[in-house]
Every structure is written in structure tokens, then in C-alpha cells.
Symmetry: D2
């Protein structure tokens, strides 16, 4: 048995832990061989591989990133993409493929598996934790820890200068990172993409916070939006490429709050630091277990499935369902943490 | 409505986060008043209280320890303990009691609630993560992170000197911290209380590790034991109090490994650093949600219940059941990680 | 003896450690009393004080920010500023004043001390480490550690996606944070305000880095500037206040590198996280020793002086000299680290 | 020109940073070749080498340990040791040798250089910071940071349970780590090898600390000793090798404090975690600069010298002097921090 492995989409701490677990168990327990495909779907599309064996995965557990490289290449949008993948898998004598990635990467795996007879097993990866089929995805806990540490640090700056500090965290479509890090960091306002926010309400929380002689931290997901009519994120300027420039919601909100409350406000955009570097212990644990169960799924011939976390168990779910629905923050959960606002 | 709060048993990061959430929601949403009882059950036993209101809980979210103090006082073992507690609760005009603690503390709450008509709600706390009624308890993730960071550091020492490093972590009856931190830290051997270990097998893993030119890390829970006949943990010496001195399993094992393999071995006992200091983001999240749900249980009159985590939901379970069974590492789960041994 | 203490200018980890050391030694060894002035020079200007005694400084050593608050108020620019300060110091019966701050705050202290007979002792504070009279200032080591950790994390993102990552760190006039964190983080290019950079040279380093199959990290101080003709940092747009908006050098450089090399480039602006939160061990040590020596200077009547670090010794230097010259990165030192570029 | 490099003695964060800097500058600026000798002096003694070029040093900057391995082999105690080293250096066509290590390693280099005409340059390495010729050695700052973080965590445990916590840190002959981490961690008692301590004085500080309702942390260097007659560290038992077992000063002191004050006391021995893992930013900076200057010393033919830090400058000092005198904590400095005791 020869198993191909690829990692697609954005960087996410824990990818190497999955790869290591797949290879360790595959080689030691099942005697499998492996082919590492480079840069996501570009690998099988172009037949680009790297050797993948036990020496190759030594020491990679604590390392962020992915030794296989990644890309956003979508073979469904490439001419003869599917045919080329099948040819290259055959050339490489690959019997099964483990695809580690997010909605896009797994969507391709689902199609390949369902319509084109390629033996695929999926491992979910999204730093945003927004896949509905699994309780958590690896990388998320690391991102939340990094954002929480940053918020911890910003409290003292806010208080020494009696400023509003707006922290923009990742989360285009789901507010999980904002919700968890905002709660853990003791933020006074948390804004998520799932619910449009009212700037006046934000200003009123900010103002009430100053009354108790503390300074407010506002955590806002990058995808959060104000209520209708309130916001023009598009800045009129053009950048050096001639593109219209988008200023982020964090910067916009800081200015609005400053304008409406008269309090100084500053923005911090955490950006890429949230997705790099060594994974937290939880993410190493989760990623490793996903890897162990993925290769077990291959051994069981459970193609078309994806591993997922349910409570403390790793289970299998159909790949097709896995990516069907975005997991967003439920209104009740968001309401639950509202007691800390203001 | 006036609600008493107490924290019992060993220190655990997240206790303050629970207290803060209970008080914030209790005051702001339900208009409750609070009495903070000092040092676990000693507080209601002796009528020792501290004021507990919103200013008292400001800024405590990231702080380890407990602002209420803790103790291992067991009122069931104190003459007229129950009667004195009931009297003091009456004197303090306390209508309901939130007890935050482990097996012992919650066991008392279960008895008080079941047999003596005291309105109790429980919040589970054990750094060892060994309560069967909940997927996770707060403090555990922090401990695992600390142990994992220590193991990360020890790898380089092991390798520079080609030594065996034995790391003793917490866990008297359950091996959760050893299992999670050992896996996350890339340990080569993990020993837990649930399964007696064979020193020769440990030595064989250690020896095989050296063959691939790496040096082994052995993670051992403090409650792990060798197979029959193998171990005399009791050292013959007496300490300055005249007590027979127990040397720990870590130290014992290092010596045995050294003796049997001829390789230098060293021990690190992580000890109290695992249970102090600021909680991880996950533990702040979990502890806060436990607090929010505990005060909600009070409002619902759900006495005799304990809050618990199931997947990503916080649910209520009967206090009596909650502490009935120790949650230990299942043999299948331990077997699953065995692929990384050696 | 009654001693006033104030902290001025930007937030900086270690301020509380200075305050604690001043008060502990002043009260315990010399029997002094203290007045804490609020918000930098605003405190003595408006007579705004807070009690400052041993209970007030308990537990503040590890906390960022300043319990006295800070501001950039300059009494020399306020009508009758000096007269009002002298009146308020007299009203508060303050015999000597310890001013903790950067160039501006200490500049005022130097004038007050030299021209107006106010008994001042200075403690230097600048996160940028750009005061020529002292080897290091506290806060700097913390900022460098935070920036280095961020760079460590960004390496994996850069490599997984084969992108250029530009990291903008603090440093308007001096490149110390960029130099130290860039070197410690293994950056491939470091750009500082002291030497105008050549974008084509940067692009050539970036390109050569990709050839060895790694991805480049470019660390740029916020005050770094390209050679003549190369840069228009001023964006043509106006923000919501009608101000012309400046886009930072990091963002500008990323776009230029992208345009000239064809490689994807991203920017991270570390911002305020560099100056908040708990101080590093080194900064706690340095700040504490500065505090101990400042109160000793008061006892010795060494007014008009500032404490400073020379090697491992804390010495006194004249306040006037202390702020006379900016400490910038010497060309030889910058050249020394150039071996790691590209 | 062909340069040999070796690392001797105990593990210390920053060794790899030195090696990387030596090789990067040696190859890129001077066109030198390198031979990496394995395991300290064992390498040149037995002719054991590893290739050492630019690819070999990629990515090692943030990694603890040493890619060359280390040992405590002393060629002066090996028959014909010097002759064999000279022969092997000749066989390897090595023109100069950079020895990175502590007192023992550099002592050999001094003899080889002075008496036997081997062209040696030294780089000082001691985690204990006890070499008199240099302001700081790399590894020390990392160790102090780790110990300080541990002390930060132990405060909350001490306070929640009103216990004495004794923390034993490294330092056999000099108390630098105890002094710096104890001060930075807000310890209430710091005990160092340079001054014998009085247990009754320690107990009196401990007792006074409890009066202000805080719990004491006692930091003790492993080499600290009580005044005459007070201590029997030698435990009567023998270990499994038949050696008499030494119980550490920390454990002994905790028992004495418990016995004399009646307060519960616990010990934490930090051990090897202090010397492993990724170096702090300061240590990466210092180690890198030491490496750059060491290879410059080779180019200048400055044999028999060692690089050293003076203020912010890296200078050269004679190897012979470098190891002549232990740098211990001066009584005045120890007195300076005494204001925080109790």
C-alpha cells in the first residue's frame, strides 16, 4: 500500500503533527509506504513529490507550517485537472490519498472521492474553527492563545493611557477566535461576523467602562460588520498598484469610536502571527490523533470520510457533509458572553 | 437572593475565572448578592467570609490561585460540622451555595444537598482531569501546556548529552497529564497509573531510541507503578522528622534505567509549577462558562446538580453521580499513542 | 522627607517595578513618605495625587503599565506651568521628586532642576533604548522578546507559502528593536532609521533567499526610510478626521517588493503589543535596580542626576547630559549583522 | 584556512547561535572552511568530525542544545591527549580551533594555546554567569527567564494555600541565577552560595511575610549552605549504585522551615529545564555576536584570546585570565536586594 499525503490552504499550526502521526503509524503498524505531494493539489496535479518516511518526520511535531508546503491551487478549475491527478497518482503508484485542508481542499477531495473514484480520506484544517462536522479543528487553540496573550498585554497599555484599544483578530465568516480570545482576554466588547454591530452600542459600552476607571479593549473579528448604512470600509485612495484600498474594520471602528466618544482609540491587527509557530499542547494532541485516525481510516478502506472530533472521541464523518455547512457562533452563545460587555 | 461561593482542595488555574463569572452574571443579570466563604468548607464551618461583589472580581480573570483561599477541611469529619454550616449559612442569610472543587469538596456538597437540604450547585475542579462526568476540567489544559513546554526544553538537553531524561508529572490515579503532555512533547515513553509498566520494556524503548541518534524522554505520572516485585519506592532513610522517606517514581526509574542500560539518566520533577499561574485561554474559557452556567443553575433552582462539559456544551449532571467514578485513561487510548514509543 | 514620584510618556514594561523599588527602599531603609503624582507632569501641575506606600506597591512587580498613570503633558508649554508645579509640590510638602520617563519627561526634570531649583532625580525610560547615557533602558528587552517571538512564528508562515513577510517594529529614530529582534529572529533583511535603504538591494536579498528554498523575513523599523526618490509614504486619502493618512513603511515596502520581485509579500505591524504586559526578567531586574539607586540618589541629595546602566553597574549621570544625545545604531554594528542578510 | 569548532561542558541555550555565526561569517566574508568536532574535546582527541557548512547551520538559531554534541572529556587527563589532538588537527588540516565552553573547556584551550602552540580562540559559556572576564554569558538570561516564570506561577499556589514554597535553582558556586530570578520573581528570601545563611533569619522573614497575608517564596541556589552546625545535607541512605545520596538544600531547608515555623513548606527543584530549549532574544543576540567576533579573532590571528562582553561591546581578553577567577555576587549587591526580604 502506498499512500499520498498533501496539505492545502492557509498555514495552520499542527499540520506537521498530522503528517508525522500518519507516517509513524502507517509505516510502523501497517507497513505502508508514502508519497508526500508538494504544495496542496499542485502536487498531484504536476506530479511534484517529496520523500515521506520516518526520518523525514523526525522532530517536526513542535514545528509550525508544513514540511509539504501548501497552496490554494484548485484542480477543478484547471484544464484536465482531474485527469492529470489520476494519471499522476497512477504514475506514483499511490493507492490512497490523505488530504489535509479546509473547505476548499476537502471540497476537492469530496468530489474526487465521490465522482471520480479516487480513494480519499480527509483531515479537517481551519484555524477559524468553522467546520460544522467537528467540535474543534487544530490550529484554533494556538491562535486563541496568541490572541489572548496579545490582549493581556494590551490591557496595561489601555489603562496607562486611558485609551480604547481595538484588536482585530482572524475570522472572516465565523467569530470563534474573537469570541474565545475576547472572553479569555477579558475584553469589554466582542464583535463577530454573525451579528452586525451597532456602533452607538459599542460606544456606550466603551464609555461605561471608563466610568469604572478601567480602559476598554474591543475585540473585533476581521469579518465583523456594522449595521446598515454605518460603514464605508472602502477607502477612496488607491495603492501603488492602482487598486482601491480597503481599510480593515478594526481601523475603521477605532476612528468611529474616537469620533463619537472623544476618547483616544488605537488599533492592533494581529494578522499572520496568529497562524504561525509552534502549536499549543492541545493542537498537537488533536492533530496527532487526527493523523492516527486518518491512516486507520485508510487501512479500513473508509474512503470518502473525514476524521472529526466529538467530545473527546475522534470519529469518521462523510467528506461531503463535512464541508457542507459553516459552523458559526450561535446567537445564544454570543448572548451568554454579553454579560462581560461594557 | 444571596449566594455563597467557596473553593476547596488543591490550587488550580481558572478558579478566579469561575468566581468572576458567577458574580458578574449573578449581580448584573439576576440582581443577586454574594458571600465569599474563605478557605473551602472552613468558611461556612466557621462563618468566615469576605465581601464578594463586582469590584472584588475585577482583574482576577488572568490570575491563578483563588481570591477566596482554599483548604482541605472536611466538615463531615468535624464535630457538628453540618449543623454549624447550616447555622452559619442562616446567619449569613445565604440561600444557595456554589461549591467549586474536586472529588472531596463536591462529595460534601452532594451530601449536604442530598441529605441535609442545603441548596448546593457544584463546579468541578481537578487539575488531573479525572472526573468522569465532564469531558474536561479547567486547569488541566494549563498543566499540560506547562509540562509540554518543559518537555520541549528537555529534548535539547537530552540530545546534547545523549542522556535519558525522566520527567515526572502530576497524576496520582489517572494518567491524563502524562498522556497529553507526553504525546504533545514528543516523549518516547509515557507511563501512567492505569497500567503497570515493565522496566525492561522501558529500557528496550530507551535503547532503540538511541539507535536513531536521538535521546529519549520518558514521561511518567507520579502514580505510575512498575509490575510486581520490581519496585521499592520506599527509601530506607528517615527524614529530619523521623518519617520514612518516599522517593518518587521518576527518580527510582531513572536509576533503574541507568543501571540496566548503562546510559546516563536524569530526573525532573515538575511539581507545583504545573498548578500555579495564569490559566491558558482554553481554561479561562471553560472556567468562565462553568461559572455562567452555575449561577444559571442557581436561578433555575437546579440544586444538587453540577455543571459539566460535553463536547462544546455545558450541561448539568447530578452531583451524586458526578463524583461517583474516576475517569481513567482507557486501554485503547493508551494503545493508540503507543506507536510513538521507542 | 517626603518624595514625589511620577511616570511620563509612553507605556513601558518595568515602570511599576521602579515605583515598587523606590517605595520599598524609601520606606523601609530611610523612613521616607511618598506622594504619587498622577499621569506624568499633569499630576504636579494640577496637584493630582494618589497614596503611595508599601501596600500600594504590593504585587505590582510583574504587572505592565504604571499604577500612577501617564501622559505627555509638558508643563513648559502650559501657562505658569512651573509656578503651579512649585506651588503644588509645596502644598503636598514634597521635598524631592523622582521623574521616570523618556527624553521629554526628563527634559522637563532637567529644566526644573537646573533653572528652577526643584530637587529632581531622573530614571530613564524608553522602550526604543535610544538614550545615550545608559547601556540599556528597561522595557526594551521585553519589546525585543515579543518581536522575536512574533518573527519566530512568522517564519513558518513564510515558508509554508513561500511568501515574503515584512514585519514592522517600533523605532522612529533608532533601530535598536529592529536590530536586536531581527538578529535574534533570524531575519534576512533588517532596515533601520539610521541608514536609508535601497529597495533594489532589499529585493536582491529577498530573491537570493528564495534560491536556498527558504522564505524571507524583512524586519523594518517604523522610522526606516528608502533612499531619495523612492518612497511616497503619504497616502493621498484623508481619514475620517480630515487628516492626511500615512501608510506605514512596512506596508509600502511589501507592495514594492511584490511589484519588483513578483513574489507575494505580506506585512505585520506589531504595534502596541510590544509595549504592554509583564516585563521580562531582565527588565524587572534593571527597573528594580534603577528604582533602588534613584531613592539612594535622593538620600544623597544628588539632585539633577539620573540613574544609568554601565556594564553591570548602576551609576549617576547629570540629567542635562542624559537627554542631550540620541543613541543610534553605529554603522559598524549595523555592518556586523549584515552577514545574515540575503 | 580551515577552522575547527567544538562545544564542551554542560548544555546551554545559545551554543547553536554561536556556531551559526562563526560559520556564516567565516564562509561568506572570509571564504574559510570548517570542521565540526564532535562532543567537545572528544572530537579532536579521536578525530571525530561532522561537516560544518552553511546548509548545516540553517535553522539552528532558535534551537537549544548543540548540533556538535558535547562532553566533559578532558584531554589533559588522557594519555598522550595533547599529542593525539595535534595529530588529528593536522590530519584534518585544521589551522585554528574555536573552543566554546566553560572553565574546563577553556582551561584546556588556554593550555593548548599557551604551552603547545595550538591556535585557539575561546568563546565563554556558562549558564551560571560566573566567569569574571565577561559581563554576561549566553544561556544565563534564558535560565533566569525560565526560573522567573516558574516563580511567578508558584506565587499563586503559595497564596492559595498559605504555604512556604522553596525553589531551588542552579548555581553551585555563584548565586547569579538565584539573585536575578529571585529579584525578578518577587521572592521574599534569596539564598546564595557566597554567603552562608542563618535558618532562623530565614524563618523570621517567612513569618513576617505571612503577617501581611501573603505567602513567602524562598529562592535558594543549589550551592547555598547554612551557617556552621546547622545542616546535614548528606542523607544516610545509599542509592541503587551504592553511592551515598545527597538530598538537596531546597528539600532540607523546606523541612527545617516547616519544623521551626509550623507552616507547611514545599520544595520545587527546577533542574534541567533551566538549561534547555530555545534561547531568549538576549541570548541569541549575545551568542551571535560572540560567534561573529570569535571568527574575526581567528582572521586577525588573535590566538590565545577569548571574546567577552563589556557593556555593549564585545572585546578580546587573554584566555588564561578569562578562567582565572570565579565571578561571584559581591556582598554590596546582595545587600542591595535585601530590602525585599521578608
Amino acid at each position: 500500500m502506498r499512500v499520498g499525503v498533501l496539505t492545502g490552504g492557509g498555514d495552520c499550526p499542527g499540520l506537521n503533527a498530522v503528517i508525522r502521526a500518519v507516517v509513524r503509524k502507517g509505516v510502523q503498524e501497517y507497513g505502508y509506504e508514502f508519497a508526500g505531494f508538494k504544495d496542496g493539489w499542485r502536487g498531484p496535479l504536476e506530479g511534484a513529490t517529496v520523500p515521506l518516511d520516518i526520518p523525514a518526520v523526525r522532530g517536526i511535531l513542535p514545528r509550525g507550517g508544513t514540511i509539504l508546503g501548501s497552496s490554494r491551487t484548485n484542480p477543478l478549475k484547471v484544464e484536465n485537472g482531474i485527469r492529470r491527478i489520476k494519471e499522476n497518482l497512477a504514475k506514483q503508484e499511490v493507492d490512497a490519498l490523505i488530504a489535509i485542508g479546509g473547505e476548499d481542499t476537502l471540497g476537492v477531495a469530496a468530489r474526487l472521492s465521490g465522482e471520480y473514484g479516487v480513494s480519499c480520506v480527509g483531515v479537517p484544517k481551519t484555524i477559524d474553527n468553522d467546520l460544522s462536522a467537528t467540535d474543534y479543528t487544530f490550529g484554533f487553540d494556538t491562535a486563541v492563545n496568541i490572541a489572548t496573550e496579545a490582549i493581556d498585554r494590551l490591557h496595561t497599555t489601555a489603562e496607562s493611557h486611558m485609551r480604547v484599544l481595538v484588536v482585530e483578530v482572524m475570522g472572516r465568516h465565523a467569530g470563534w477566535i474573537a469570541l474565545h480570545s475576547g472572553l479569555a482576554g477579558g475584553a469589554n466588547v466582542i464583535l463577530i461576523p454573525e451579528q452586525r454591530f451597532d456602533v452607538d452600542q459599542v460606544c456606550s459600552w466603551v464609555t461605561s467602562r471608563f466610568k469604572s476607571s478601567y480602559a476598554p479593549i474591543v475585540v473585533v473579528a476581521e469579518g465583523a460588520m456594522p449595521k446598515d448604512g454605518d460603514m464605508v470600509l472602502k477607502d477612496q485612495s488607491q495603492d501603488s498598484f492602482g487598486h482601491v484600498r480597503l481599510s480593515g474594520v478594526g481601523e475603521w471602528l477605532a476612528k468611529e469610536v474616537e469620533r463619537r466618544t472623544g476618547k483616544e482609540a488605537r488599533t492592533t491587527v494581529l494578522g499572520h502571527v496568529q497562524r504561525g509557530g509552534t502549536p499549543s499542547a492541545f493542537d498537537r494532541w488533536l492533530a496527532t490523533r487526527f493523523g492516527l485516525h486518518a491512516i486507520e481510516a485508510v487501512r479500513d478502506g473508509a474512503y470518502g470520510s473525514m476524521v472529526a472530533l466529538r467530545g473527546t472521541d475522534v470519529v469518521r464523518v462523510p467528506l461531503a457533509e463535512a464541508t457542507a455547512k459553516l459552523k458559526t457562533v450561535a446567537p445564544e452563545l454570543y448572548a451568554e458572553v454579553g454579560v462581560f460587555f461594557g
